[in-house]
């Protein structure tokens, strides 16, 4: 308990410092507003919002303010996705896909205002649950992570890529793994981290420094969405909003167990490396449907169903930041963009991160969730109007934003060529149902994997047992093996028969 109190007092200091700075509110209100707008517009996502702002703010303003803008946009965008889900039956972001299942029937039955009020409150509480978990668990894990050496880091990076590939695949799981391997392969370009041996540069000096993360992020997340979204589309008629958008406190009190359970699930899913808010929303919705007394009404306008997904996807934000800050492994695609922002500001997330940055992040998340709550309640009608803007009008502007953001981080035309090339490849990959998140996570973690894998072998004179001789490494190797074997039918059958025999 003493530990929690000391954490809270550290957080209090950071919170006051952030809250007393007037510039905080300029960045916070504008970024949360922008985030909600990005989330509310079908075709734009939370990842895109954070990616674009990474290019835009990246290393131009102090990291403290840059983090306010990026986290504000992240929190706002995950919440903003609920607007089109509820009013149009079109999820604004993948994270709010489960919200549409009950949100739209509620709106159709004239309870749209109530649904929006509840999602606003649930998103606020969810973000706070995730943030509290971040505040407490990040320190415990940081203490543990001090003992993590190269073998564990290499296996953890591989686990993040494999897990992301496994859970983010819409079609075959190996497509997720292939995407992860393509990302890893892209990270191999340039001088290798131990011997400075040039790899796959084809004589082009630009390639010596490897692929820059921001143009890759912009290409992978922005360009495919721009290409996909630039088509004629008749938006469905928005359900007329009835009732005031207010937090329904009796309903919140009645559903507090659901909100708490969903918050915990969202945080847990977020803490898994490479798994995003969309998975959190669906997992929480699925669990809610199974355990709730109201389970049979899920999908027909159940308040519990709505709260299950909306609380979890926002709680996932705090969870996703745990592996990012402790291990340097992004917990979700938007967290991958945040990692890029840390990197271009020369901050390396992981066991050596400055603890003040973690407290700063927690303070920003609390303020961002408060801002989101206030904007959600008082300016909701503006966002509902924004829903009517056609994609074909705002996506060209996004393309210009992407171009200037990508150019200004590196300051070179070559970065734009890289962005376009990655964008076309990512578009074709997403057409063929290859998930893009594992590719980006592969690019981000590739350097770490290469360096730590070879260092482990170097320190053990080439003995592969280095990956099983330490308990942590052994567990991670077993998890990696289980993840791969779990997808092979023969191995699955063998495990099944072994389990039956043991039971």
């Amino acid at each position: 308990m003493e530990f929690v109190y000391s954490q809270l007092s550290g957080f209090g200091g950071a919170f006051i410092a952030v809250a007393l700075d007037p510039l905080t509110y300029l960045y916070l209100v504008s970024s949360v507003f922008l985030g909600i707008t990005f989330g509310a517009l079908p075709g734009l996502t939370a990842t895109l919002a954070v990616t674009i702002l990474t290019g835009f703010f990246g290393n131009k303003i102090p990291l403290d303010y840059s983090l306010i803008a990026l986290l504000g946009a992240y929190v706002g965008a995950i919440y903003g996705g609920s607007y089109p889900s509820i009013l149009l039956n079109i999820p604004g972001t993948a994270a709010s896909a489960a919200t549409a299942m009950d949100g739209y029937p509620l709106a159709k039955s004239g309870r749209g205002g109530e649904a929006l009020g509840l999602t606003t409150t649930a998103s606020f509480i969810g973000t706070l649950i995730g943030t509290f978990a971040l505040l407490v668990f990040v320190w415990v894990l940081l203490l543990i992570s001090q003992n993590i050496a190269s073998p564990e880091k290499a296996l953890l990076a591989l686990f993040g890529i494999l897990l992301s590939g496994t859970l983010m695949s819409e079609d075959l799981v190996i497509k997720g793994w292939i995407a992860g391997l393509i990302g890893l392969a892209m990270a191999m370009v340039g001088l290798d981290p131990l011997l400075s041996e040039p790899r796959y540069t084809f004589g082009w000096s630009y390639m010596l420094s490897g692929f820059q993360v921001v143009p890759v992020l912009m290409g992978a997340f922005a360009v495919p969405q721009i290409i996909e979204g630039l088509r004629h589309m008749e938006l469905g008629r928005s359900v007329a909003l009835q009732g005031r958008i207010l937090p329904n406190l009796p309903a919140i009190r009645r559903h507090l167990p659901t909100i708490t359970r969903s918050g915990v699930i969202g945080t847990g899913v977020g803490a898994l490396p490479g798994v995003g808010e969309d998975v959190a929303g669906w997992v929480s919705y699925g669990v809610g449907k199974t355990v709730s007394k109201d389970g049979k009404n899920f999908g027909k306008g159940s308040l519990e169903g709505l709260l299950s997904s909306e609380t979890a996807n926002n709680a996932c934000i705090g969870g996703a930041l745990i592996p990012l800050l402790v291990l340097g492994i992004p917990g979700s695609p938007p967290a991958a963009a945040l990692m890029a922002a840390f990197k271009i500001n020369n901050v390396i997330p992981g066991p050596t991160i400055d603890p003040a940055i973690i407290l700063h992040v927690v303070a920003i998340l609390v303020l961002a969730s408060l801002t989101m709550f206030i904007l959600g309640l008082f300016t909701a009608r503006i966002f509902i109007k924004i829903l009517r803007i056609p994609q074909t009008v705002f996506l060209p502007v996004v393309m210009v934003l992407t171009t200037i953001g990508s150019f200004s981080v590196g300051g070179g035309i070559n970065d734009l060529y890289l962005m376009l090339g990655v964008g076309f490849v990512a578009y074709f990959m997403s057409l063929m149902k290859y998930p893009i998140a594992p590719l980006v996570i592969g690019v981000i973690l590739g350097g770490l994997f290469d360096e730590t894998f070879r260092r482990s072998l170097y320190l053990s004179d080439g003995d592969p047992l280095a990956f099983v001789s330490r308990p942590g490494a052994g567990i991670l190797l077993a998890l990696n093996a289980a993840l791969i074997l779990g997808q092979i039918p023969v191995a699955r059958r063998m495990f099944g028969s072994l389990k039956r025999r043991l039971l």
């Binding site: 793994w177 191999m188 074909t392 035309i413």
Partner: protein, 249 residues
């Protein structure tokens, strides 16, 4: 298209994707052999042991990719992907969609490769925004072709006339882009009489790049593409010579 048709299309695409991935993986495994694996001394460091080699991890990655491409190939063949791989319907070929993508790809290619490095950013982006909204808002194939042709012409002119970096500061391509932008805007207004979106195109096309480039250059003091462009050069001059002294005194 029902879900079984979708799956058949997906497997046909997987068949080609697996072959492509196999080729790519094999190519890069061959390229990896250029990196010393055993007993070479490179970059001043002895690489006598295999576990020191910079080729080790890439070999694993491309080896893994090769194996996964074979697994994907097996799955696609088993589920009928090879049978429908050579038919247009089998791979989900859609003429309208291919036209949409080809024109968009051309617009983005000429914007990034031709216009952004050589032409004033406000002009290049204004033309891009106008072309994209005009071409794709209503989904008319002819508008898409026209939009792509205009951007391609402006981009090709810039590349052909001012290919080397030493010529990127010239303004002839700026003027051509400006002329094409004005013509396309007028055409969009004529074609879209009574259409609200057509009326807002000029405002968005002027305001968005202008605000963005000024915020980046003067707000964040960042590098922006083509500082010597026709319009931005004037803005920058008047910012530092006429405006900034007003509050710097």
């Amino acid at each position: 298209m029902n879900s079984s048709d979708n799956k058949a299309v997906m497997r046909a695409q997987d068949f080609w994707a697996a072959l492509f991935l196999f080729g790519v993986a094999a190519f890069f495994i061959w390229r990896t052999t250029f990196i010393p694996l055993f007993g070479h001394n490179r970059a001043g460091v002895s690489g006598a042991d295999w576990y020191n080699s910079a080729a080790l991890v890439p070999l694993g990655i491309f080896g893994g990719l090769l194996v996964l491409s074979l697994v994907l190939l097996t799955i696609s063949i088993r589920e009928g992907g090879a049978r429908s791989a050579l038919s247009a319907a089998g791979i989900g070929w859609n003429r309208a969609e291919a036209h949409r993508f080809a024109t968009l790809a051309a617009i983005l290619f000429f914007y990034i490769v031709g216009l952004v490095p050589r032409v004033d950013f406000i002009l290049a982006s204004g033309l891009l925004i106008t072309a994209l909204i005009f071409g794709y808002h209503h989904g008319h194939a002819r508008r898409m072709s026209l939009a792509a042709a205009v951007v391609a012409f402006a981009g090709s002119y810039a590349v052909v006339r001012n290919l080397p970096q030493s010529d990127w500061g010239r303004h002839d391509d700026d003027l051509v882009t400006l002329a094409l932008w004005i013509c396309l805007t007028l055409w969009a207004l004529v074609q879209g009489r009574g259409d609200r979106v057509a009326r807002v195109i000029p405002a968005i096309a002027v305001a968005a790049p202008l605000i963005l480039v000024c915020v980046m250059a003067f707000g964040f003091r960042q590098n922006v593409p083509n500082r010597g462009g026709l319009i931005f050069e004037q803005i920058e001059y008047h910012y530092y010579v006429s405006l900034k002294p007003l509050w710097s005194r």
